[in-house]
Symmetry: C2
Subunit: 284 residues, 2 copies
């Protein structure tokens, strides 16, 4: 049996009791380590589980997924993923492949950014589609997020923006020479995200949002030192929310006064927050 | 400290290790029991925790929330909720009240229907706003869900429909006479939901969806006997997905072929599924 087990958001104790029982008895334990990252080291997990954990990076999953799966037909294999098993497309691929090979699969759910973001104070049912923001380069500035945010905001909905992480990247030179030397990991910050959003609005000028639009910057969600900062995009473009991981929520118009009361406590500047809210949402 | 702890979706072992540690040491343990239900009994929880659990129904939370909160300022109180702490508006109210009283609060996240629904095979980032479906009566047929579904589908997005549960309801007569006699609990089925959706489309005729629109019925998500049935709304209006809880996902146009491959395995009737898919989504 292949068990795909969600680890939740922050540390080793965010696994469920059911998940931990499986990890303790599985023949082998893999940790998926390229679509997301946990906020703790592999060593800490191993100590907590009392088991060795094999890091499954992109290379391994792409080149050896059949080996991982094959052994699952005779023994129990645990494949650990940060958040929930259905948080990333890759895991659907793995599930489809397992189905083709007639390997039984069970998934153990957990919290992920997609539901835990409710902690920012906005009701989850008023979120529209989720978008991703990648690091811009001089020649690559993908802006499809812009149209999606506009679609959400046109009907009053909030948008969760997931921020790029770059892990195990090679420089062009090292890649060309086939040298397996990797750049240090990079995690996009709320400030970088807000800056890129403002750049694209300045180019497109379709009014999907403005420098005055309210947003909530979120960091280390689910950990003891999680942080929320509410402010305009212009303010968030200057905000420092500390170490990774960061996310951003752009507010839509469909927001209840109780939600605003809740969020106001996170305001970078309460007066600026109130005036931005009145300007965008009016007094109704 | 007030701990609001998500229990996840299905049984006593879906709590996280961190959550269980808190339950074991808390002074008192409440179980919120009116916005959702767990698929197991209170007694099973008590046995697993080795602790008494106090059921907090709507009456208690509305009339005694300050009592629950007051004791949290001096001792540790655990308030357990099915799914994730931020799944229901009520818990935001509780958090706001705790903040007013300067009571420290910590939340322990877990899976909820809002992210675990990814198990149906559709990518979560292509879901729009979530809607609720209540039991229609002869005189009360709230149809606001219809406009929201139309908004989602107009921009290609899927819609998660959360189905009504009626727990501890009084008949009008018993209510009028002040008798605390409650009706047996009722849980809406996928079939009832699909029927009500079709009734409203037949009335409104705005083409938000049709009897031929594909949807996925989901039951007992996260449990060992969870079930998915994919089919047209017309088919789902006749489908039997067994015991509660049920949910429904209405497909949008923004769907990848890999997702359709994954879902096809749940089809009530593969040929009907394929022809409905081609009719609504075309061959692109």
């Amino acid at each position: 049996m292949l068990y795909i087990i969600g680890l939740g958001l922050s540390n080793e104790k965010d696994i469920t009791v059911a998940g931990l029982e499986i990890v303790k008895k599985a023949e082998r334990v893999y940790l998926e380590a390229y679509t997301s990252i946990l906020m703790i080291d592999k060593e800490k997990l191993e100590e907590f589980y009392g088991r060795p954990v094999i890091i499954a990076d992109r290379e391994m999953v792409e080149s050896s997924s059949d080996a991982i799966l094959a052994s699952s037909s005779t023994t129990d294999v645990a494949f650990l993923v940060v958040g929930d098993p259905f948080g990333a497309t890759t895991h659907t691929d793995l599930l489809l492949r397992a189905r083709e090979l007639s390997i039984p699969v069970r998934t153990i759910h957990n919290a992920s950014i997609m539901n835990a973001i409710g902690a920012c104070g906005l009701q989850l049912y008023n979120f529209g589609q989720t978008v991703s923001m990648v690091f811009f380069t001089d020649s690559w500035r993908p802006a499809s997020f812009y149209d999606r945010i506009k679609e959400n905001r046109d009907i009053g909905l909030h948008t969760l923006v997931l921020l790029d992480i770059k892990v195990k990247e090679q420089s062009l030179e090292n890649m060309a020479r086939g040298r397996k030397i990797y750049e240090p990991p990079r995690y996009m910050t709320v400030a970088q995200c807000a800056q890129q959003m403002l750049e694209i609005e300045a180019e497109k000028k379709e009014g999907a949002y403005s420098p005055n639009t309210l947003a909530i910057g979120v960091s280390r969600l689910g950990s003891l030192d999680q942080q929320f900062v509410a402010g305009t995009l212009e303010q968030l473009a200057e905000a420092d929310l500390g170490p990774p991981l960061h996310s951003l929520v752009l507010l839509g118009k469909r927001v209840h006064e109780l939600e605003i009361d809740y969020i106001r406590a996170f305001a970078a500047d309460v007066e600026a927050f109130n005036s931005a809210y009145e300007m965008e949402h009016g007094r109704e």
